[in-house]
């Protein structure tokens, strides 16, 4: 059952124990911090995987990128999966330039991201991990 939350001015929806967070048209300090807060909120609520959808994002600045690093850290520390979806070409270049793509998976769109995470959830975990 999907649910849509906009209370923190960041649109998001839950799909089971997954959450999709929608970034706005400009990812800067303010909008980045809102995304980060929403991601942390979702993780605290027991979310096992996060998708940040950049479909509407036209521009990202370096402060926004630095905040995304914080999100990556937070996801890692809780063992949650994180995928950036629908990132435009220029933003991908920016992420590559700043080394983000080494720490996060990219998906062409939200559907691909959801499929990836579903497949991941279905894969049995190795013992000890």
């Amino acid at each position: 059952m999907a649910e849509l939350a906009t209370g923190s001015q960041v649109r998001s929806r839950s799909v089971g124990d997954l959450a999709v967070i929608y970034a706005g048209d400009y990812l800067n300090k303010l909008s980045g911090e809102r995304i980060e807060r929403e991601c942390r909120r979702q993780l605290e609520m027991g979310c096992r995987a996060l998708i940040i959808n950049f479909r509407e994002t036209e521009l990202v600045n370096s402060i926004g990128v630095s905040i995304l690093l914080g999100v990556i850290d937070a996801a890692e520390s809780t063992g949650a999966q994180l995928i950036f979806a629908a990132v435009n070409h220029q933003t991908v270049q920016l992420f590559e330039m700043l080394g983000l793509t080494r720490h996060v998976a990219l998906a062409t769109d939200e559907e691909e991201a959801l499929n990836t995470l579903t497949e991941f959830a279905a894969t049995p975990k190795a013992a000890g991990h």
């Binding site: 521009l59 600045n61 370096s62 700043l98 080394g99 983000l100």
Partner: protein, 758 residues
């Protein structure tokens, strides 16, 4: 009567001027500046005419008077020169009033001849125009009553000097040209500081005025007259250029019907340093003695006669007499002046001079001050520097010392002075020719302003290897293609090396060695401070290692003595340097250029300056100012997008430009502590590029100060998990050229993106 009375040849006759206007050379611009004051259109009413000693300021003012008289505008010119004959402050003030009325009457009657007539105040009262009668009558009456009533000197002086103000109040606008203000000091009574009274009276007159006098004196007077506030603009009357001095000698010789040739003409110009007084004195003496100045011998004989007993002698003798009225003190003064000038730099503590002159403090102070004003010595804090730039003064002082102090016979002094000046003549001219041929290192260094120049222009070995022998267009292309560039410092002060280290003159001419203080990248910090020491070496062939080493050592010696910490040596030799010499220069991290390289460098610096000037008026340029914060960088980004589209940038490039601009705006917002919280942007469109300049006021981030924004962090940001400070790295990745330009306050980042078609 008509105001203009040309002579038969149609030329204007001088009124107060000693020479016809067409004979007057070299002061056109200055004269125009003075004449403009009379129109009342100028912002300032007053002008301080700061004259070097005997630079012809009196004739300049007389020419100005004549021209104003001829133009016959609404402003009445009045020329008044203070004179030693006035004896007292009251006498001088009465003389001023008489001259003021005389020139007013002459102008009203349009009768130039009246300007120099010997008329008393009562004579003038009868000639005053009806419109002026009332204020003149009231002023003269008040003066007579004050005089009869035994009013104090200051009241009388003020009354006389109030003439321009009273005239102005009655609607008569006058333009007072006051000459020789330094003489007012000698006319001061106990209670009347005449110079200050004059300055104040003219300031309050309501009309335009010029205060002229010796430059070192005049500034002090103006300062005290207005309690330190500036009240007038300043015009400096410097020495005549060689070209103007040549013209002056030529015209004066023609006027006096003295035969002269090119060689002697040049010698006179060089020996007198273009001084109008000395030139006129020599040529008048030649006329009086009917001597043809067609040989060095005739020329120098006349010169020595002038030094020993002619007008030049009387000129210096009267100055010395004025400075030191007592013969015994004068003799001591000549001794101290001459002996001090013989020292290496002529500089000595004030106290040493006082002991040597054996004078009371007040008298000593007065003498030193006068020497300073007449520029026969320079008083600087607690030091006195004897000597002047004038060769004529040096010759006069030497002759006088030998006669008066050393007690040598006059015949011997005359004979040896003549021999010495004759022997010196070819050297004087040779020095002039060398100076003319000098490359102008100081002037070139002055133009250094953070330009980037091909490194090969500073390394003769590289230039020789890769560029020598190329055709001009090939050479230009090769230099344009060079990627190894030297960023020149921003030079803030350049002077002859001799000004720092006089001993250098023993081994080279003043013009051939220069010292320039500057800052690398135009950053005003200790770390960026640098001193360039440049010298021209004489050598017919490529300069060898030995000579290059001698010069490097010499310049390092200058650096040590002067306490220069971080230096750059630069040697320039006509044909460049041998391989061994180049190795030495490289070892010492010194630069070495040939004349050819220097020419190319000069051309490139000129071109860069011209380009900079063009940029200031570039038509395809957009400007924008945004407030910091509230995502205003998006407005800038959308603007640059529109501009970039106009010149057909590809969408990807447009996004890169937008991102870079956003980062630049964020940097400005985050780091500048900007006082106005604004970001100034310029977008310049060129045929193949877009240049975006982002500037803001405030502090410069420390990381930018030392390295033009080069980042320490070479690895990827996320690798080190450093979360901030990526802006500049991003900008460098996204744009083709990124450079911080020097600004006085804050930062200015220039980013260039080239257009790549297809």
């Amino acid at each position: 009567m008509p105001p203009k009375k040309p002579d038969k040849s149609g030329r204007e006759r001088p009124i107060l001027g000693r020479i016809a206007p067409e004979e007057f050379v070299g002061r056109t611009g200055a004269l125009e500046q003075v004449l403009r004051l009379s129109s009342g259109a100028e912002h300032e009413r007053g002008l301080l005419l700061l004259a070097a000693p005997s630079s012809g300021v009196s004739e300049f003012l007389r020419q100005a008077y004549d021209e104003l008289f001829r133009q016959h505008g609404e402003t009445i010119p009045v020329y008044f020169a203070l004179s030693r004959n006035d004896k007292s402050a009251v006498g001088a003030a009465r003389h001023f009033l008489q001259t003021f009325l005389l020139h007013t009457v002459a102008y009203r009657r349009r009768d130039p001849a009246l300007s120099t007539a010997a008329l008393s105040i009562s004579d003038l009262m009868e000639m005053v125009a009806p419109g002026d009668y009332e204020w003149v009558e009231r002023l003269v009456g008040a003066m007579e009553r004050a005089h009869a009533g035994g009013q104090d000197a200051q009241a009388l002086v003020r009354l006389c000097l109030s003439a321009p103000q009273r005239a102005a109040q009655s609607g008569t606008r006058t333009f007072v040209l006051l000459d020789g203000l330094e003489l007012a000091g000698q006319l001061n009574g106990v209670e009347v500081p005449l110079e200050t009274e004059i300055a104040r009276a003219l300031m309050h007159s309501g009309g335009p005025y010029v205060l002229a006098g010796l430059r070192r004196h005049l500034l002090a007077v103006a300062h005290s007259a207005r309690n330190g506030n500036d009240f007038a603009s300043a015009l400096r009357l410097e020495r005549l250029s060689d070209e103007d001095a040549r013209a002056m000698v030529e015209r004066t010789a023609r006027r006096y019907e003295v035969t002269i040739n090119d060689q002697t003409l040049d010698l006179i110009v060089q020996q007198t340093n273009g001084n109008p007084l000395f030139i006129t004195s020599l040529l008048r003496a030649a006329r009086e003695k009917t001597i043809a100045l067609t040989s060095y011998r005739n020329c120098q004989q006349l010169y020595v006669d002038e030094l020993m007993g002619g007008r030049i002698h009387r000129h210096f003798a009267s100055i010395l007499e004025e400075i030191a009225p007592s013969a015994a003190v004068r003799r001591s003064l000549v001794r101290v002046l001459y002996e001090s000038a013989q020292n290496e730099n002529g500089r000595a503590p004030v106290e040493i001079w006082r002991k040597r002159l054996n004078l009371e403090a007040a008298e000593f102070q007065s003498i030193v001050q006068q020497l300073h004003v007449h520029e026969l010595a320079s008083l600087n804090a607690n030091f006195i520097e004897a000597g002047s730039d004038s060769l004529v003064w040096s010759d006069y002082l030497r002759a006088r010392y030998r006669l008066e102090v050393a007690g040598e016979s006059r015949a011997l002094v005359v004979a040896e002075t003549l021999s010495d000046t004759l022997k010196r003549a070819p050297q004087t001219m040779a020095r002039h020719y060398r100076r003319e041929a000098a490359l102008g290192l100081r002037e070139l260094l002055e133009r250094f302003n953070c330009q980037r120049m091909p490194a090969s222009l500073f390394h003769y070995d590289r230039f020789s290897r890769t560029h020598k022998g190329l055709e001009m267009d090939e050479l230009t292309a090769a230099l344009d293609a060079e990627t190894d560039l030297v960023r020149l410092p921003q030079v803030v002060h350049a002077a002859s090396c001799a000004a720092f280290y006089p001993a250098i003159q023993q081994v080279c001419d003043e013009e051939r060695c220069a010292v320039a203080h500057g800052f690398d990248a135009g950053q005003y910090s200790d770390a960026s401070e640098v001193v360039w020491l440049a010298a021209e070496i004489e050598s017919k062939l490529e300069t060898g290692r030995g000579l290059a080493e001698i010069w490097c050592d010499r310049l390092m010696q200058v650096a040590r003595v002067c306490g220069f910490h971080r230096v750059r040596l630069w040697l320039v030799a006509p044909e460049g340097f041998t391989a061994e010499a180049s190795d030495l220069l490289n070892e010492r991290e010194a630069y070495g250029s040939s004349h050819r390289q220097l020419e190319l460098l000069t051309e490139r610096i000129s071109a860069a300056s011209a380009a900079m000037a063009r940029q200031e008026v570039a038509p395809d340029e957009f400007e924008m100012v945004i407030p910091m914060g509230d995502d205003t960088e998006l407005i800038a980004a959308h603007t640059v997008e529109q501009i970039a589209r106009r010149i057909s940038f590809q969408p990807e490039a447009i996004n890169q430009i937008k991102t870079a601009l956003i980062e630049a705006c964020i940097n400005a917002t985050e780091h500048s502590l900007s006082p106005d919280r604004k970001i100034y942007q310029r977008f310049r469109v060129e045929s193949d590029r877009l240049v975006v300049t982002v500037s803001s006021r405030g502090v410069v981030p420390p990381s930018l100060n030392s390295q033009n924004g080069e980042s320490h962090n070479n690895g990827e940001a996320a690798e080190s998990r450093e979360r901030r400070g990526w802006g500049l790295k991003l900008i460098r990745s996204l744009m083709d050229e990124v450079e911080f330009e020097r600004v006085d306050d804050g930062t200015r980042l220039r980013m260039t993106k080239y257009l790549r078609k297809g």
